[in-house]
Subunit: 497 residues, 2 copies
Amino acid sequence: MYRDRIRLPSLSSKVMSAADAAALIQDGMTVGMSGFTRAGEAKAVPHALAERARQEPLKITLMTGASLGNDLDKQLTEAGVLSRRMPFQVDNTLRKAINAGQVMFIDQHLSETVEQLRNKQLKLPDLAVIEAVAITEQGHIVPTTSVGNSASFAIFAKQVIIEINLAHNPNLEGLHDIYIPSYRPTRTPIPLVKADDRIGSTAIPIDPAKIVAIVITEQPDSPSTVTPPDSETQAIADHLIAFLKEEVADGRMTNRLGPLQAGIGNIANAVMCGLIDSPFEDLTMYSEVLQDSTFDLIDAGKLSFASGSSITLSDRRNSDVFGNLERYKEKLVLRPQEISNHPEVVRRLGIIGINTALEFDLYGNVNSTHVCGTRMMNGIGGSGDFARNAHLAIFVTKSIAKGGAISSVVPMVSHVDHTEHDVDILVTEIGLADLRGLAPRERARVIIDNCVHPMYRAALNDYFERACALGGHTPHILREALSWHINLDETGKMLAD
Amino acid sequence: MYRDRIRLPSLSSKVMSAADAAALIQDGMTVGMSGFTRAGEAKAVPHALAERARQEPLKITLMTGASLGNDLDKQLTEAGVLSRRMPFQVDNTLRKAINAGQVMFIDQHLSETVEQLRNKQLKLPDLAVIEAVAITEQGHIVPTTSVGNSASFAIFAKQVIIEINLAHNPNLEGLHDIYIPSYRPTRTPIPLVKADDRIGSTAIPIDPAKIVAIVITEQPDSPSTVTPPDSETQAIADHLIAFLKEEVADGRMTNRLGPLQAGIGNIANAVMCGLIDSPFEDLTMYSEVLQDSTFDLIDAGKLSFASGSSITLSDRRNSDVFGNLERYKEKLVLRPQEISNHPEVVRRLGIIGINTALEFDLYGNVNSTHVCGTRMMNGIGGSGDFARNAHLAIFVTKSIAKGGAISSVVPMVSHVDHTEHDVDILVTEIGLADLRGLAPRERARVIIDNCVHPMYRAALNDYFERACALGGHTPHILREALSWHINLDETGKMLAD
């Protein structure tokens, strides 16, 4: 039944079990696997690899596009397979191993991993494991629900293992647009000038002689865990939509806005859902991950086109979208993450980038990754690729966490992922701060007045006023700057009652 | 004698005194002036403006390319003219006013100011004051020793004042390449694929009807204050050149290296001077500012072409270069800073970016701007434009300052301008840390072993080991993380004897 999925007949002989394919991965290898935001990851081979590592010592460097589903990072961590991991993850078990210093995690801007590989600044993958819906007559790889770094991994690796996943709709073929920047010093501009431009091929072009194994699977992607908007995420969406209406009214953009990018997760999804009832029309997305809200917006007639690097859906949406792919296919494209996130394209298109902050400070510096400055949550992901060059770099978060024990607005962030230079707009359920063209002291005033939860407003105001009395372009009281995080670490709450 | 400098005859009637021209600037205006790294700034009109402001209340928002020479920021600050200032400065008097909260300073990535103007996210200049060597037959402006933001300021402003500066060699005409990105959503790629490509016009195209005043001046640019290499800057250069040789030996680049960018100042200048005696050949620069070392490298036959946004020379080099411009002209181009620093071009060309850090931390986060986290030195300048997308993002600094009272390597930087994601190589006179592909704990080890002054090595090692015992992807002891800066603020030294 999978013969129509392997259209180069000479490759049929490469079909083998996952265990046999996993046996090709040797201790000490660098392996590049497909997978981006729990979509389109290789499934059977890493699972078999974890099984094998329970019997014999086996350590690898694992590169992916972004996060894996199906508990694969958990299985690989528990089996002790991961010595190094890049460029992103979201798994609780792996996170603990990273924070314990057991797995060396290289947290990267998602557009940069393959650029560093191309320049031989990272060790090239010995082997790539790529999930596919099909192998073409030419032996080229048709990816599934994500492109991520799969194309460059397959091109750079000496050997390629393909997982043909029968659980995916074969009609995914044609959805992808594989474009790889040429080598320097003769690189030319990326010829993409609109979100719906197609500039590459529909399959990953490799020499089929590199394909050393083909494994047939039938395991679906993990569903996303996105939850419906709550009153706070709805308030964030409302503030942002009100702001965007003003931008249109002030003539800074049209009713089509700019191409939209939304980070993964509940808040960004809620913001995108909020656009369904907005006056904006003929919207486009130029984003990393296409979530439920993308398809809700298409169904509502609001979104004309969506470009991403992966599709990650909830159970609610999954069979509906992939079972009726022909309804959406002309309005979608999946690109390598190097292109979906490329600074050149982000700057050219004028993207509205909406990403989630873990915390931000009085001056608009954003921490996206580190709890109390030390413990990694997930990784910076693509947020920096977008925020630096976006037309509007927007960060969203609820103003408090853990029932108020934590304020998301702090005197000084405990870790910086996005500097104040790169942050235009901050939104909490309390309100929106427009920081454009403001000096730090002005930014602080706008943030305190608009974004801070009332529980913390007086304390932040007090800090800011005492800091200003000490002076400086960016006033701080160094002895107190991290005191809220120290309190949290030591007492479980940022401020005493 | 200046009739040949104003080649559109109808404009002759606009010639007036600097005081009369300055009278066109009204209280509350936003003014865009030429000037980048003390080169090519308008001189007579801002001086006259400061004079006038001593008689009557007058406040403006002043935008430039980058820093001004001839003590203009000092004069304007002392006269109380500046309410707002962007995007960069280096003046001691202005710095004090910024840190006292008297002048609102907006510290920006230098490629971004005109992008924000184009998108109406900053108030457009009411008036532009641009230094020129000539006005063409079409009424277009030929800049002098810098382009900076002059082209977009003149295009956006309702009124333009030109300072024709007779002190500049008229043969500067032809050196400039004025290219302005088109408006979104129909923007096309910047068609620059090599450092020596010319993609624009040699003069700034504006409607001559906007020219409301022409002032004739004869005041030279301020000389740069660059000093010859000392033993420490020479050691930094030596470490970096040894590293670049290894990169060539390892096949990661050729003997031509990549296009070089060097920040302003003594260390970067020393590094560039060090290339004179290196084995590298047929080098190119794609940088912001062309300093003495650029011309030393051309004279030595090492540098084939240099692209910048300004030329800033010492007294030693000034008359030699500008008096013999025909010797260099075919090897030079000056571009708008939006193009010299553009992320799209920086990423495409694969630039080797060398910039100066004020301090960096165990994990490779860099502070370029804020003393003890609060007091602005100069501004981030173009360092972020280059570091984020460079092929190699290199930061250099001496390992200690103030006779050892300050370590340039600290547990946690007191302010972040460049996150660890954007920093590849750190160099002090002690040695070089290659951070590529390393996790934070590995980065710390390499930095401590290679870059830290022996005076501080044991203390940093102790901090790092105790932090690791606490755990975390990026281990820190929050109670001590900023203690070195607190000590410095309170006692004048980071560590007690």
